[in-house]
Symmetry: C2
Subunit: 226 residues, 2 copies
């Protein structure tokens, strides 16, 4: 795996580093993303990274921001607020989906990174348009975004294992663990074991996830107005 930019250039820069850090995390999980590993990937001493990041948390924050930067926020339209909100939340999910192992890094960056802030502001905007008070919009928006991040983080099949062998082993182990349950004590879980381990379609999985969040927002709004 060569460095993302031309290997002849010796000069590093934070953006490139964050990008290839993300590649490591995507490929082998967050545990594999170590200072030494990233340095080696760029043919550089580990300490060199500290010229660009104050410490490892700073690097992880940059990776989170890097992911949030992929959000393609839809332009405002004249559609109803809830339709637009759905599109905004879908844009968040779309940006996170390619990085299930690293998506959790965005949780604490939404109110810091510019792209996270843009998402948050737009979300609150639509919520206020939908009738929420500013404070309620803040709370509802926060949880909606957090839920969707978790949706990606907990995506079934996004286990840490990198090679297909270990991954398949992990899946088999999970399947066996559920198959070992008593169908008498846990009739529904055993009946839905396949779905619980790996949903039929990831697209459906995400669609339902977003539906749940949006429906929740609509429902809570109705309740607050009553």
């Amino acid at each position: 795996m060569p460095p993302t930019s031309s290997p002849t250039t010796k000069r590093l820069d934070p953006h490139t580093l964050a990008t290839s850090a993300l590649e490591i995390a995507d490929a082998e999980g967050l545990d594999a993303l170590t200072i030494r590993r990233l340095a080696q990937l760029h043919d550089v001493t580990p300490m060199a990274l500290y010229r660009h990041f104050s410490d490892k948390d700073d690097l992880l924050a940059a990776v989170g921001d890097r992911i949030l930067a992929d959000i393609a926020l839809p332009e405002p339209t004249d559609e109803p607020w809830d339709v637009q909100l759905r599109a905004v939340l879908a844009a968040l999910v779309k940006a996170l989906r390619p990085h299930p192992k690293a998506a959790g890094l965005t949780l604490y960056r939404i109110l810091v990174s510019p792209d996270g802030l843009a998402l948050a502001e737009r979300t609150m905007e639509l919520l206020v348009e939908g009738g929420f008070s500013t404070d309620n919009a803040a709370e509802v928006g926060r949880q909606s975004v957090c839920s969707l991040i978790t949706l990606v983080t907990a995506e079934p099949g996004a286990t840490e294992d990198t090679d297909p062998v270990a991954r398949e082993d992990g899946l088999r182990a999970k399947r066996a663990s559920l198959a070992a349950l008593s169908p008498h004590r846990y009739p529904l879980i055993t009946a839905a074991a396949d779905t619980l381990i790996c949903p039929a379609s990831h697209d459906l999985y995400y669609r339902l996830g977003i539906d749940l969040v949006v429906a929740g927002i609509r429902g809570v709004r109705a309740g607050l107005q009553a």
Copy 2:
């Protein structure tokens, strides 16, 4: 901080260890929960713990299970399914709330630990009663539970800092970070800054969180039937 059980007893056991591991995590965050620390707390060599846990992940899993064991699942009643479901989800939140820093450990234990399984089965039961297919109940139940776990994990004010000084510093830093934003570019975020950093009431925070999830379930069910 003395060991949870009598200090004269030399014999360790997994349950006691998991409990005091949880105490460490609650008090000082997950990072402070190291094998050596836990061993020292029990006046024992670090390697002694490996007689009871195969490795650190195993210990963390036990801590997760320990938390799930605190769920007091309400008895079935003749109330409508959604009312009962709300009570079940509230029971989950109630069990997690005392441990915001460790609650994330439960995410991967729900379909493993007996108490997690009981929660999952009961949740699916109520969803099926509400009209969901078994597979949909699985998906909806999964996301609902994950959302609520995240709700606790991301509870504002549950930062890693242990002593009040560092905690206050962290809050101040966050506040300053939001206060530095342009009210012109981010009018809603700056207006709701206080709420975003620390909600007025934690009880309201959790009530709204559960409301959102339940409302989402109700809304999605209506949509699926249409």
